[in-house]
């Protein structure tokens, strides 16, 4: 269990790190395209997000999202060992 928690923590940190350092998102490039294609008529957006996290907080929350999913997957994979069909071994 300790090893699983350690792996989750490492994954959490890794995803946060990766999300902080990747280049511009495809969405950012789409924004530029919209402005270009419509001669700036259709832009900027008509409403702002309710809350705009800083890039660091955003990376952290992406990591949290991954961690929630990983905990569920790890739980299933852990139980899988108990229920595995003997015919496969």
């Amino acid at each position: 269990m300790k090893a699983e928690l350690m792996a989750l923590a490492l994954l959490f940190a890794f995803i946060g790190f990766i999300n902080s350092y990747v280049g511009p998102g495809a969405g950012d490039r789409a924004t530029e395209s919209i402005a270009f294609l419509t001669n700036n008529i259709a832009y900027p957006p008509w409403i702002d997000p309710l809350w705009q996290p800083t890039p660091e907080i955003q990376a952290l929350l992406f990591g949290l999202q991954a961690a929630i999913g990983c905990v569920m997957l790890a739980y299933f994979l852990h139980n899988r060992k108990k229920s595995i069909d003997p015919e496969w071994d």
Binding site: I15, I18, N19, V22, G23, P24, G25, A26, G27, D28, R29, A30, T31, S33, I34, F36, L37, T38, N39, I41, A42, P44, P45, W46, I47, D48, P49, L50, W51, Q52, P53, Q58, L61, F62, G63, Q65, A66, I68, G69, C70, V71, M72, L73, F76, L77, N79, R80, S83, I84, D85, E87, W88
Partner: protein, 231 residues
Amino acid sequence: MHIMEGFLPHPWWEIWFALSLPVVVYGAYNINRLIKEQREALPLLAVAGAFVFVLSSLKLPSVTGSCSHPTGTGMGAILFGPGMTSVLATIVLVYQAFFLAHGGLTTLGANVFSMGIAGPFVGYLIYKASMRSGLNLYAAVFLAATMADFATYIVTSIQLALAFPASSGGALASLKAFAAIFAVTQIPLAIVEGVVTALMFKYILQARSDVLVRLKVVSPKALSDIKEATV
């Protein structure tokens, strides 16, 4: 990437909401039925949801210099069909819209349609067609997950092209521009998603092949063929 908050003007954001809502309601109804009638399949539903949670959090750099993320919806589509997968995708998209300002509440309908309905629907059809044609099970899963991911971003390009037709060339010119951004960025990520999904599917098959047969994901004959090939 999802369409950001406020990107889609009136009437497009309302149209995508109207198209997505019935499918999500139908999916929720089916989940409710699954809970009552096939409780043994619930861990797999949780796995399909967790898969969407993990994969859609992975922002990865791609060949075009921009980054994007896989969707993870192919697994849900194969196991439970596009209806229930739309509910799983909606949960993830609401989380991302509220807490990450990734996607948006006004564009939720459009994002649910592309990631939760259109992509999984394509994946589901490809999986069923591949199984009928006698393709190897894992190849079918790979193909379905890859195409579910890729189709998601093709539909996103179409949604943006319809909302923002180019001053010269109209919606078709816009579609080319958006597809060049979204679809090309997505090709390597879609392939990675296909491989990861096939690997995960192998684990699920080994652990709960009985449930997969009951859900009609795998036929008993296909299952015995795979078991014979592995022994």
